[in-house]
Symmetry: C2
Subunit: 79 residues, 2 copies
Amino acid sequence: MSKAVYYHAGCAICVEGERFVLQFLDTTKVDLEIVHLGTDRNRIEEAEQAGVKSVPALVIDGGVYHINFGASMEDVKQG
Amino acid sequence: MSKAVYYHAGCAICVEGERFVLQFLDTTKVDLEIVHLGTDRNRIEEAEQAGVKSVPALVIDGGVYHINFGASMEDVKQG
C-alpha cells in the first residue's frame, strides 16, 4: 500500500483538486491523508521537505505531483 | 465509467506524470486514454478546447487537472 498525502490550503483550486483525489485515486493501492496547511500549520515544514512548492499537491511514495496551482508555499506561510 | 484523457508531449515531467496516472488512477472508475500531442498533433485543438493550458494534463469528465508543469501549449504547438 502506498502512502499518499494531499496538501492543500482551502483555496477554490485546492477544493477542486481534493474532489479529484477523493474520486479517482485507487484506494486499493493508496492510503490517502488530507492535510489542510492553513489549519495544520505544523505540517508546513514536512510538506516543504517533501518537495511541495505550491498547493494543492499530492505526495505519493516520495513523488510530488502539483495539481493545478492554487497558492505558493510562501503564500501559505504568510496566510 | 468516467472518461479520462492524459495529454502529454513526451517531456521528462510528462513521463513522470504518466507513471502517476497509470499507477494510481482507479481504473474501475476511469477509462484512461493517453495522448502524445507531439506525435498526435491533430489532437492539440481538442486539448485546448478542453481547457488544457500546459502538459502534462489530465482531463476527466470536463475537469482539467494540470499535473506539475512540463511545457505550455504554445511550446507544444511550436515543437
